[in-house]
């Protein structure tokens, strides 16, 4: 298994795609910090000075970073997962690999683990750079960094963020196996993401049991879990374990479905 994961890393290291995805994620974190700093500098006596300051000073600044990762991160991990699995169908390299005596469960497991590890590394890089950037801005703006109970908050938020990404990695992997296409699986994953928001919104406006359905959708539970990343969470948040459980259940269903399909799939030329 380690050999296969190493090979996956080697292949990913030779592609532009993972670097571009990390750069996009970094940009989504650093650009708001830079914009906030420019605004803070130019509006020292302005009305919104407190807002700009909060975006630049730890631990509040970290809250913004954690909240920004899932939104874009979902799309980025979907692209990573779909591209890592889907291209193997398109290039025919999947057939080449399996024909050399690699079992299908080992192959798919190595893919999932590699995507998970690369996503984890990408998130860690983005958060570390965000942390370094906001540490610098904290020192510049406040002259000190107030850590407080930051460590516990940091790791809990990181865990919640990764859990949300796991659902979309599982979903994109499943659709890549099902549709055998990178582009199609990215499209379907993003369509699910958008479709859930629309359907969830419509259902929540209805009454009776229909109004309860959104509570079991991915988007709703993602939002609930991400709301806990706030330093001052709102009072009506569902128990975290319920949202985490639902997201884990979705992940499990997608992964089991991906294995089920993959083990029974005819890999024709």
């Amino acid at each position: 298994m380690l050999d296969l994961i190493r090979v996956e890393f080697f292949k990913l290291s030779k592609r532009w795609m993972p670097y571009v995805l990390v750069l996009v994620l970094l940009a989504s974190i650093l650009i708001p910090i830079i914009v906030s700093y420019i605004n803070y500098q130019s509006e020292v006596d302005g009305f919104q000075i407190i807002d700009w300051k909060e975006a630049l000073v730890l631990p509040n600044a970290m809250q913004n970073i954690f909240n920004s990762i899932p939104g874009l991160g979902i799309i980025l991990v979907a692209i990573l997962a779909a591209s890592t699995v889907g291209t193997e169908y398109g290039w025919g390299t999947l057939r080449q690999t399996l024909a050399r005596g690699i079992s299908r469960p080992r192959y798919l497991t190595s893919k999932l683990l590699s995507i998970g590890i690369v996503s984890f590394i990408g998130v860690i890089i983005a958060i570390t750079i965000g942390l370094i950037a906001t540490s610098i801005t904290s020192m510049v703006v406040e002259g000190e960094i107030i850590w407080g109970s930051f460590t516990g908050y940091f790791f809990a938020s990181l865990g919640r963020t990764l859990l949300v990404l796991v659902v979309y990695i599982s979903m994109a992997t499943f659709f890549s196996v099902l549709l055998r296409s990178t582009a199609l699986s990215i499209m379907v994953t993003i369509a699910w993401f958008i479709g859930e928001s629309i359907i969830g919104g419509l259902l929540s406006m209805s009454s009776g049991w229909l109004a309860d359905i959104p509570q079991y959708l991915i988007m709703y539970n993602t939002n609930e879990l991400m709301a806990l990343n706030s330093l001052d969470p709102r009072g009506d948040i569902t128990d975290w374990w319920q949202s985490a459980g639902i997201l884990l259940a979705y992940s499990t269903v997608f992964i089991v479905a991906a294995y089920y399909r993959f083990l029974r799939q005819d890999l024709t030329a």
């Binding site: 190493r6 030779k14 057939r95 050399r100 005596g101 079992s103 799939q265 030329a269």
Partner: protein, 316 residues
Amino acid sequence: MPDDIVIKTNGLTKRFGSSSKGILAIHNLNIEVKRGSIFGFLGPNASGKTTTIGMLLGLVIPTSGSIELFGQDTKVDLPSLLQRTSSVLENSPFYPYLTGRNNLEVFTKTMGGLHRERIDEVLTIVGLKKRSKNKVKTYSLGMRQRLCIAMALLSDPELLIFDEPTNGLDPEGIIEIRELIRSLGKEGKTIFLSSHLLHEVEQVCDHVAILNKGKVIAHGPVKGLLRRSRMLRMRVSDANAAVSMLMDIDWIKTIETDEDMAIFIEAPEDKYADINETLVKQGIRVSEMTTIEDTLEDFFLEVIDEGKVPTEKQHA
């Protein structure tokens, strides 16, 4: 199963789609490939060759029937059986963004690692050493095919499966690859060569199975199939008299004439002199006696012509 059978299929069938509307790609395929033989799997496009290879390699799941590789059912432990096998797949699948060498390294690592020297060796064998540091997306189809063959040679497989290995190669490359396959056969490797090129199979293989519309319609030694198609062509002074006389001889299997009144006789070769003597004794002068040996191409065209050979032929 005897130890000398490397591939054996038992009633292998593959249907794509539902049983009512689906396509029956392979129907009740029964083949045996002996150790050390170069087995040609011959058939026109869309006859089911690649599907069969897919099933042998575990890429396509059979609808029914079974496959034995090296005497073991592939349902038991296919990965370990495939590690004794190498394949050259159609369309030469590679990572386009990696160099030729990188591609070999990737597949080497998935197999648990091999010596770097072996990569150099196989690149030299297929004549790609100089281009090995270029990305595969810059390769021609022929170069990709050579790289595919290089990859098949990386390990020391007992069985090599080639799916249309000379596709896209220039004439020089085709000759080289055929020589390579022949030399691998001489080394004692078992070769399974799928091709739609009759002369390729004829030149390279010792055994052949002819596939058409998912069914094996003939199989046996290549020379056996050719020998069966051998006929005697004669030109005589009175064709009608000769035919009526020869019709009475029981060891003559068939006798036909064409529009030029040439006579075609299927008879044992050691009786050709007797035919000549019989005709001359009856006052019929013989101006030509020629042995016509049908090529495998003739045989192939004959057997795939639907209706002429409705059932499977066995040529021992």
